[in-house]
């Protein structure tokens, strides 16, 4: 059993919220998840994603920042019913067959039972901190993307390392989400 932990720093990130956010993002050609609390791929692989948080809030993360900068420029013109959300989160990736064991020591959500194809996004409390967790990969190769408030970043990162310590084969910081 092994796990890897990574801090994600190479991805651009932006958030939108509001009653018209879904319609407007659709007009901008961004693929959107249909259900609340789910995610979809917006680029070539599972790195570029759009997460729908609740009904009317979206988190976009991409390797190529240009597309997001374009959205940012558009929104600066104050689109009715679409509000930008500053996303300076700390982002992590936990992968490996021990990933579920690591999460089970920190969070009371049954991540192992989530089906990969359902593409669910989970908002929960982990070690006392609000986090968003997106399971990726497949049953054999599970990978979790995790976001938290950046001011909790050091605490979450050091706790992850402490819990995952016995399983760690490679801790990269910084790294990517791929």
């Amino acid at each position: 059993m092994s796990a890897t932990l990574q801090q994600v720093v190479n991805l651009a990130r932006i958030g939108f919220k509001g009653p018209n956010a879904a319609a407007w993002l659709g007009e901008q050609g961004i693929p959107l998840p249909e259900r609340a609390n789910s995610w979809c791929v917006t680029g070539d692989d599972e790195q570029d994603i759009c997460v729908r948080l609740g009904a009317s809030e979206f988190l976009l993360e991409r390797g190529d920042g240009n597309a997001l900068r374009k959205l940012q420029a558009e929104i600066a013109a104050h689109i009715p019913g679409v509000y930008p959300v500053l996303r300076e989160d700390c982002a992590f990736v936990i992968a490996g067959d021990a990933a579920d064991d690591v999460l089970a020591q920190m969070c009371n959500v049954n991540f192992a039972a989530l089906r990969a194809e359902a593409r669910e996004a989970v908002m929960t409390l982990m070690i006392g901190v609000a986090v968003t967790v997106v399971p990726q990969g497949n049953a054999a190769q599970r990978r979790y993307r995790l976001w938290c408030d950046p001011t909790f970043g050091d605490y979450v990162w050091s706790s992850l390392n402490e819990v995952a310590g016995p399983y760690l084969i490679d801790t990269k910081s910084p790294g990517g989400a791929r």
Binding site: M123, T124, T132
Partner: protein
């Protein structure tokens, strides 16, 4: 630990939720008497029975309504706040 079904996030342990008391109708501030207003502000019913309560899923900031039987310590139903407003209009 008890569980609660959040209409947005599904079944979660109660430690993921915050509680804000019973849903209570505010009397019209301009029409009510001082005693009526004081009763609204300060008095709460502790009588066991079915209560409509405000609950918040902390991680998502999602507020919803839970109907809870405090005599049996059982949650009967949970639903979005919009439904509460519909009930009010009706």
């Amino acid at each position: 630990m008890k569980q609660l079904r959040c209409p947005l996030n599904g079944v979660r342990p109660v430690s993921e939720f915050a509680y804000a008391g019973e849903v209570r109708d505010m009397p019209d501030p301009d029409a009510c008497t001082d005693p009526q207003w004081a009763d609204y502000v300060f008095n709460r019913s502790g009588v066991p029975g079915v209560k409509r309560e405000w609950w918040c899923h902390i991680a998502s900031g999602y507020w919803f309504i839970a109907e809870r039987d405090t005599a049996r310590d059982a949650v009967i139903d949970t639903y979005p706040v919009e439904k509460l407003r519909e009930v009010h209009r009706a």
